[in-house]
Amino acid sequence: MGMSTQQIIFMVLSLVALVSALGVVLSKNPVTSVLCLIVTFFAIAGHYVMLNAQFLAVVHIIVYAGAIMVLFLYVMMLMNLNSEIEPQKRNWLKYAGAVSGGALLVVLVAALRDASVPALSESSVEIGLIHNLGKLLFTQYVVPFEVSSILFLSAMVGAVVIGKKD
């Protein structure tokens, strides 16, 4: 049974995404974690391209991998974190974390089990292209779009207020 090129690319991308995501959680060194997370973002951007959503893919790279992760790395590099001098968390905290993480997984699985996730249909292959996305955002979804922009504005004002010297 031959696999199509798309299936092979999907497999490779998923493998990269999973391995690097595991690297984020399992790595002892926080800088390695951040670098693994960047690789994960690239793999996810690859998935977006596979869904013909090139705009989303590039914006994902610019915003997450290009800006937010740079700031993460910036902070990590300055903090000089070290696994030897890092204070160990108490055991009960670790168990609590594992239990709540597991509970979240159960809730997510329960929520997604019955949800109909529409796969890429023939009529929606063009939806991720910038022209269609822009039209849709500024007609059908204009109210949520503007509301989220107000949210960003308030976050920016908040950052300026906190950052200002009194």
Binding site: G2, Q54, I61, I62, A65, G66, M77, I130
Partner: protein
Amino acid sequence: MTLLSIDWFFLIEKILLISGVLVLSLVVAMYSTWGERKVAAWIQDRLGPNRAGPMGLLQPLADGGKLFFKEEIIPTHSNRFLFILGPSIAMMVACMTSAVIPWADTMTIAGRQISLQVADVNIGILFIFGVVSMGVYGIMIGGWASNNKYSLLASVRAASQIISYELPMGLALIALLMLTGTLSLKEIVEQQRHDLWNVVYQPLGFFIFLICAFAECNRTPFDLPEAENELNGGYHLEYSSMKLGFFLFAEYINMFISSALMATMYFGGYAYPYMDKLGLSENMLALTGFLALFIKTLLFIFLFMWVRWTIPRFRYDQLMRLGWRVLIPLALANMLITGALVLFRHH
């Protein structure tokens, strides 16, 4: 089997084109190092390199050979993997942007239409923006992995500088996009071929983009990440041999690519005045178009060098003030005015 249904000619054509573009970038970057020293010498009334070959033309080869044969040193307390990853990322990212630049119009060879652009994606400009935002990782990772306080300071500077100047760059590009209505670089060039160049409509936008390009390439007056008198050379302080060469070389490739970009977006790309009235054949048109783009690019590279040997380096607070308090408000105003004018023209 779908795997075998690839258009092999298409694949070979693209591989040839990619190799050609890469070789071109590398050769131009190589001779930019020679050009830089010649321009510097000319501005400072010296002779410049003149020993290796006629007019010192073999100097870049001598420099490259020297870098290859130098001893490679990896500091003891550094992260070995990241130390090597840094210059590799810098070099790889520098080579990636050239994929979406249209080097010339289509050519017809043996009955096949060959587009002289590696990928005409409909998000060309955003692709460039994405790759540019990756460029900072090479410097950051290299500087941090060196385990040296000067390198770390330099990488912190580089990160904040590049993030700060990406914003006005993006805002300047938005104004250009409003005008052209497309993100594809090929279409932007085609529009300029039949109309005036974009710099006529976007003089302020071009100026902002130019300043940001200087900052993104870490060129003087924005070369704070490698300020030798305060940081001992900056992020590549611990590097030697070809890894140092990669960092230096990536800067020249970036300079070449951003020059080509500015020529493409604001100065007509491969289009030149009266090109459609000369009655040239399609292939000649593509060839002369490529020459036009190349000359424009070289002029921009010369501008980069001219500025480097004329203007002193900014202080760090001046750099931040220029970015946040001058360029961003200017770019916003430019965007607003352009938007208003585009709206006015449509009604």
